[in-house]
Amino acid sequence: MKKNKYTIGVTGLNAIDNPGPGVPVIRALREANSFDVRIIGLSYESLEPGIYMHDLMDKVYQIPYPSNGTELLMERMAYINERENLDMIIPNFDAELFSFIRLSTRLEEMGIKTFLPTPEQFEERQKVNLPEFGEKYNIPVPGSEPLFATDKIPELMEDFDWPVLVKGKYYEASVAYNEEQIRIAFNKISAKWGLPVIIQEFVHGTEYNVTGLGDGKGNTIAAVPMRKQYITSLGKAWGGIAISDQKLIDLTTKFIAQTKWRGGFELELMKTKEGKFYLLEINPRIPAWIYLAVGAGQNIPEALVNLAMGNVVKPMKEYHAGKMFVRYSWDMIVDLKEFEKISITGEL
């Protein structure tokens, strides 16, 4: 039977030390059995490494930052769509997700599908809303409070024990052992990611992550848990192993069933010495380590595309625990002409 060929736009081509998920998502799509793909890379910066990976990209376009407004982004998407006739877009950055969620109806009218969380799902899992989320769905979460100004630190700290985690709205976190360290982290993180900064109870234990896919009706289409084995100074996994903890699978299934989660996601959890899991964060997108899930037997990006296209997708229950990923860095040699083309014309 002839396979469908989909043209898919993918963001997150920054395969750097704090990697975006775009490159592994594209690898997964290229390995899909149920369809063929034409990949349109969507980049923000001229030095995102994925731009120059010609065996993965068919064409790359620069797109405007979310901070420039959704209208500009929509104009650019219309321009790209005229040339490429996109079937779908998979956005991979936390910071751009809200724009794409807002634009999803208009994109659909242009013939471009997405498979993203609803605005309500996106909002209620925000870091600042995590305590309410935990209470609503009966999932243990560490205590946390938003912090808007440094003069509120002493008052806020009456409710916490030391140390605490100081977290950015979208990215970054650091451990603080005193008020001065909170102030330093607050200034650094708020300058980069805006307000509020979140102060979170520090849960001692081992970190686990789960990536999965919900069909928007409460069904778990995929779920693969992983333990980070090698962590960079930014807290990113540079090596990890797929594990088979039933408690993690149950928690993920419960999360999807209760929220009716739509799309890919990553749960960040901490397991205490007593074996209790705390949900630290919900990332409303596919994580950068997604290729481990593919290697372990669950091609989540492929299933995501099929869900978006309205194809029948059977839940994937099996995967190989013990499969590992080991990340590496690789220097590509790039001609100045290519850099010039993407920088000046915004296309490559």
Partner: protein, 84 residues
Amino acid sequence: MKIKKDIAVSETGLVFNPTTGESYSLNPIGMEIFSLMKEGKSTEEISGELLEHYHTDSSTLDKDIHDFMEMLNHYLLLEKDEEE
């Protein structure tokens, strides 16, 4: 004390706990004890089998087996922890 059912050990002595993702390497004698435990043998049976192959006295061997099992328990590789 029983080793948890899902704990796997390779021919070269790599023990993998699929629930936690932790792995450990065993030396040859550790592997021998581990394999006997996997077969469901009791501490006395393991001690008896090893005494046939190694020049040592039973009290030293019993202590070593006990220490080894304590270590397995510490790393949550034994069924006993599940019940506690």
